[in-house]
């Protein structure tokens, strides 16, 4: 767990700073900004969706927050601290296509990688770590596939391996980039279970999501994004026709 910095202990408003607080974030790959003046506070212990049309900057937001793309301006704090101080307490489940699945290794080994941060440099995973990784695989229903070469897993199973790795990592704050994209019903169910398991343990989960149909069922907190933040807050306050129209604009009115 991360302790609040000393200055925060004197804060009269909250005992513990928010898991993620973004101020005035702007990102531009070329001339046109991909993200413009984004302000965002993610509350602790909730399942939070970031939703918006293609090209709205959802993945870029995750990457900018995690320092994987340069920021033009703005500040990002995790639990009141800069990224470097809390890196190991942040889990990132990337899009499945971000790694080479032909890599010579098996499912269990990939899950074990989630525990490397705790081991630190030089120390190798031992029996305790392997058992922990097995438990994570069991939780996503892949115990029988532990020794399977990762290229021989289906797309949904690969996504679940990534989830098991995040579970094993035991972070306080999780970012998931489109985990529901192109997976079957079994995997979707497994991802939901993991998300609720994490919430039950008091973790915060931020998910880039694209399916408006399921937002209401899956999440507590919603951020609507289209280059700027259109709305951000508890689901019942933000998931309104007005906000959706402001986010998706003409495309919504054209389509329906």
């Amino acid at each position: 767990m991360i302790r609040p910095t000393t200055s925060d202990q004197f804060s009269p408003i909250s005992l513990r700073p928010a898991p993620l607080e973004v101020r005035d974030l702007t990102v531009a790959y070329r001339e046109k900004p991909v993200l413009w003046d984004v302000d965002l506070v993610i509350p602790e212990g909730q399942l939070c969706a970031i939703v918006g049309p293609n090209g709205a900057g959802k993945s870029t937001l995750l990457k900018a927050v995690l320092g994987m793309v340069p920021r033009a301006s703005g500040t990002v704090q995790f639990f009141g601290q800069p990224l470097q101080a809390v890196r190991r307490h942040i889990g990132y489940v990337p899009q499945r296509s971000s790694v080479d699945w032909d890599f010579p290794t098996n499912a269990l080994d990939v899950v074990l990688m989630g525990l490397y941060g705790r081991l630190g440099w030089f120390r190798r995973p031992g029996r305790a770590e392997r058992e922990e990784a097995m438990r994570a695989l069991e939780q996503v229903g892949l115990a029988a596939f532990a020794q399977r070469q990762i290229a021989q897993l289906s797309g949904g199973q690969q996504q679940r391996v990534f989830l098991a790795r995040a579970l094993a990592q035991n972070s306080d704050l999780y970012f998931m980039d489109e985990p529901f994209a192109g997976v079957d019903a079994v995997t979707e169910e497994a991802i939901l279970q993991v998300m609720h398991e994490l919430k039950g343990r008091g973790k915060t989960v931020v998910v880039v999501h694209h399916d408006l149909e399921t937002v209401r069922d899956y999440f507590d907190h919603l951020t609507l994004l289209n280059v700027q933040v259109i709305a951000s807050g508890p689901l019942e306050q933000t998931f309104t026709a007005e906000n959706l129209k402001a986010t998706y604009g003409e495309r919504m009115s054209l389509g329906r």
Binding site: D100, F103, G117, W121, R165
Partner: protein
């Protein structure tokens, strides 16, 4: 030590040092980088010769060349990070530029120096026994063994110590960075060792064989296993076998030693590509043929199950549109398995075949 043993040992040390690092290069899709580094070190060597006054100065040459290798890596990284050109084009731009600088420097200023381009490209491992290391007035034996032995040991230590970190940053650099394992620093450490190894092996085996040893054994091992530790071990083994067999063949045929070693490595790769049980071309082909035969037999069973009389062969051929030869194969397999029986009036199911016909394949 006899000259034969020295040459073979040198080659094994070069191939071992190379295979250890090459495994990670291949997995990182950076095979081309080894080609770039092994050429781009030339200006570094030239510079080191100039600094040291044109003597054979191994330590200085090593460092100068390693610096040139790192310069290559840095320039390539920097060029591709600007997003104006792709990584392969960046490699293709940087190393000819550096290599030609080296060639120009040799031809303009070092004509009289003992540094000829043939030796740079092809090396001469046959001379390995004659270049001996002398220190404190003692003859310490062949210099190449000392250099390559040190490098092989250094690379082995690096891979053993940082195995977990190398694996993670190769598979998922994003997670490695998130967990604080400095994938950038590891990348440069790996590339520094590749540069050092390329330079160290330069004099004995030349640029071409280094590239061959860095890439071919790991690429061969990659085809043979799905586990990283096994892959690295196999890569070392393939390199050693290429060294020994290459030397023996080169002596028998009176051919270039380095050339023959690279050729043997290439042949081993071809064998793995064709016959690897993991995903070799020929096992895959015969598996497909076997499956075709078996699926056809299952279809045949299902068809026969719908008839309570023997079905004439002619009818089966019409039904499925198979060639008589293909039906014969499927039929032969099914008969051997005791699933169908020949009958004067055609084909019929055995009791076992009837059971199997009712099951899902």
């Amino acid at each position: 030590m006899s000259a034969d043993v020295i040459i073979i040992l040198t080659a094994i040390l070069v191939s071992t040092a190379s295979a250890l690092l090459g495994s990670f290069l291949v997995l990182r899709r950076m095979a081309l980088m080894s080609d770039a580094i092994s050429h781009a070190v030339l200006p570094g060597i030239v510079l080191a010769f100039w600094v040291s006054g044109g003597e054979r100065a191994t330590a200085v040459a090593l460092l100068g060349a390693a610096a040139a290798g790192l310069l290559t890596v840095t320039l390539v990284e920097w060029l591709s990070r600007t997003n104006r050109i792709k990584n392969d084009a960046a490699i293709g731009l940087v190393f000819p530029a550096l290599f030609s600088l080296g060639v120009l420097a040799v031809s303009l200023y070092f004509r009289n120096v003992h540094l000829d381009l043939d030796a740079v490209l092809y090396g001469e491992i046959a001379y390995a026994p004659f270049n001996t290391l002398e220190a404190f007035g003692l003859n310490l034996g062949p210099e190449s063994l000392w250099i390559m032995g040190t490098l092989a040991l250094l690379n082995l230590l690096f891979v053993l110590l940082f195995y977990k970190e190398l694996k993670l940053s190769t598979f998922d650099a994003g997670l490695a960075a998130a967990l604080g394992f400095a994938p950038g620093a590891l990348h440069y450490a790996l590339m520094s060792l590749v540069s050092l190894t390329a330079v160290g092996a330069f004099q004995s085996v030349g640029a071409i064989l280094i590239v061959a040893f860095l890439i071919i054994p790991p690429a061969t091992a990659y085809l043979l296993t799905q586990r990283l530790p096994v892959m690295i071990g196999l890569a070392v083994l393939v390199g050693a076998v290429s060294s020994v067999a290459g030397y023996v063949l080169a002596i028998l045929l009176d051919a270039s030693i380095a050339g023959m070693m690279a050729t043997v490595a290439g042949l081993l790769f071809a064998l793995a590509w064709l016959f690897s049980p993991v995903d070799g071309v020929i096992p895959a082909r015969s598996r497909r043929a076997r499956q075709q035969r078996e699926f056809a037999a299952r279809l045949l069973l299902a068809h026969l199950a719908h008839h309570d009389r023997p079905v004439p062969v002619r009818e089966v051929l019409e039904e499925f549109g198979w060639s008589p030869a293909f039906l014969a194969q499927a039929q032969q397999w099914a008969q051997r398995e005791g699933l169908i029986a020949g009958d004067p009036h055609g084909l019929r199911l055995t009791a076992r075949g009837a059971v199997l016909a009712g099951e899902r394949p």
